[in-house]
Symmetry: C2
Subunit: 404 residues, 2 copies
Amino acid sequence: MNADMEKIWGKTFAKRTEKIKSSVIRELLKITQQPDIISFAGGLPAPELFPIREIEEACRYLLPRLGQKMLQYSPTEGIQQLKEFLAEKMQKYGVPAEPENILPTHGSQQALDLIGKVFINEGDKILTSRPTYLGAIQAWNAYAPEYMTVRMDDHGMTVDEMEEILKNHKIKFIYVLPNFHNPAGVTLSLERRKKITELAEKYDTFIVEDDPYGELRYEGEDLPTLISMKKERVIYLSTFSKTLAPGLRLAWITAPSFVIKKLVQAKQGADLHTGTFVQYIAWDVADRGIIKAHVKKIREVYKRRRDLMLEAMEKYFPKKGVKWTRPEGGMFLWVILPEGVDTAKLLEKAVERKVAYVPGFAFYPNADDGHNTMRLNFSNASEENIVEGIKRLGELLKEELGEK
Amino acid sequence: MNADMEKIWGKTFAKRTEKIKSSVIRELLKITQQPDIISFAGGLPAPELFPIREIEEACRYLLPRLGQKMLQYSPTEGIQQLKEFLAEKMQKYGVPAEPENILPTHGSQQALDLIGKVFINEGDKILTSRPTYLGAIQAWNAYAPEYMTVRMDDHGMTVDEMEEILKNHKIKFIYVLPNFHNPAGVTLSLERRKKITELAEKYDTFIVEDDPYGELRYEGEDLPTLISMKKERVIYLSTFSKTLAPGLRLAWITAPSFVIKKLVQAKQGADLHTGTFVQYIAWDVADRGIIKAHVKKIREVYKRRRDLMLEAMEKYFPKKGVKWTRPEGGMFLWVILPEGVDTAKLLEKAVERKVAYVPGFAFYPNADDGHNTMRLNFSNASEENIVEGIKRLGELLKEELGEK
């Protein structure tokens, strides 16, 4: 049967389909989905914190009153109430946004895809950090760009290499994850934020600022977003997935209205519009101040989990040649092991011990890098499981590094 | 400000962005959105029929029980319960589908986009009817195919020309709207269904069967779907938008699992997965038999509206050289006026009289055709407005054709 299918369909796929193959990582992660495993591999919020009752209240309140609108087709541009709410929210963060600067999308993943569709020609060069967010690479690979990368340190993506690259290459855009970087866990310093926006202007390019975790800060001071510094050259992405619930698939783009118009046209062809029903629910929940209260709660819980994970790592992880980041927020931390350790191979042994992580090589757009790194998620597992999982992982690493 | 934006962004758009310009039609339709207009232009279901209470019940029942799952990330492949329901539904229609043959999407529009992404290389040839569904053209234009078209008659797309084209061109796929064609209102005959599936095999191509209205039949017998005749060469699309509510943005693809796998990979990059929340709601509502009962109600109401529109057209429309289709189901009928009438120009006058339609040229993929045609929607307006609107339109047409 499959041979027949291969014969009929095998040669019909578009060239780009080669580039949108399922990632190695996805296959790898399948082995981590056994029910009794302690997984630090995903990027899931803690489901026990979801404001389920409040969302049910929103349904119960809204449907009898606005049901006919909530269930009908709606404009590609998004529903006005939600856009007004989001524009105001952006204003509070120092971005003079109006509803015409906002486009609700089916998650930030769709925002990344629409940006790819609207901007990337085959061979266009995108400047990003190494490591960088896997989902962006997956979205953009369908449009066949090249990636130019700069290394990261404790203050985020480095800017010295960046100017070299900008000087020598026409860069379509710079992709920046400013806060609590996924996967690296670090936050871009204020100085570098300024520098990157200056470079974007100097070399006449633009910035895609991807900020899903900005509100999940557990210590230190909020830093201004890049869009607040140079709004005419930044497309800013944020989402309800981390502050409310990812199952709604709701995020938004903030950009110059000139750009939003093009993104709207692309979205019209891509899926007509974002779900009317979920836009109304998110608007109601946000408008009643529930997200604000909810974020406060998440911050407390995730901070505790982060602290617990860091403590456990201190206690159980080998020390020699092993480093990890101490994120000020977000959901991930990043471990760098000694050169020569292959975290992809090691994953099998970890899974045997019922603990999982994401091998870091997956986050390097130009392959063959980061083999000695791993990403750990601290938002999803229970406190008990965090300690137990880190203990198991620490023991494995110690054996692997010959410390035991 | 806009000049500045043009300067910064104007040259950065990808080449394909030219092709995904907002359609002329969209601009035209903006003038039809005045509140006091009787619009036959949209393709909206009747909102007063939405099963609002039943959807609220689903929220109230499901959230306390399955809230943590409904609000969490879920597999790109879709939630198992919904896929099982849909596979069974397809089986009832003679398609031996399993859950692995089903992929839930954000509306059929996303299904069309994913098909474009996975299959269309620049310059690939797609065979479709003229006229054809506008949304498909919008989705696929981003991938820059060529369109080869065959004319339609009262029995759907014609097959004589089709074989000529298949003989002389490598066709990537044949796009078929079998039931109550949008915009033409006609249904593909059984004989032609068979013929098209045979042609697909003979010329080693495949079929995209787009069937949003299949369940909305008001008279006559259901005809077998093309996928039930040759499941190994058909990608079949259907949706909850017409039978439940478009605001949920929920549709599904049925195809060989070999093809579903590729579509899943593309969807992963496009938006990660279809909203978990709405998948659960649709599953619950469908599983409780509510959609079935709802479809029965819709059929009655839409049939009455269709009949009323046809009666009013009989009464008010000019006769000489004017033809229209009598659809056995769906939401649209199609009017052909004498050569020389330009329905795009006429729309302005219609809007002055507070009635609107879609000029038919919009449905011709290779432009410059169908200037004397229009599409009328009969599902959305009230009975009173249908009669009044057709009266106004009839009077305008009579004046235009000099019958008054």
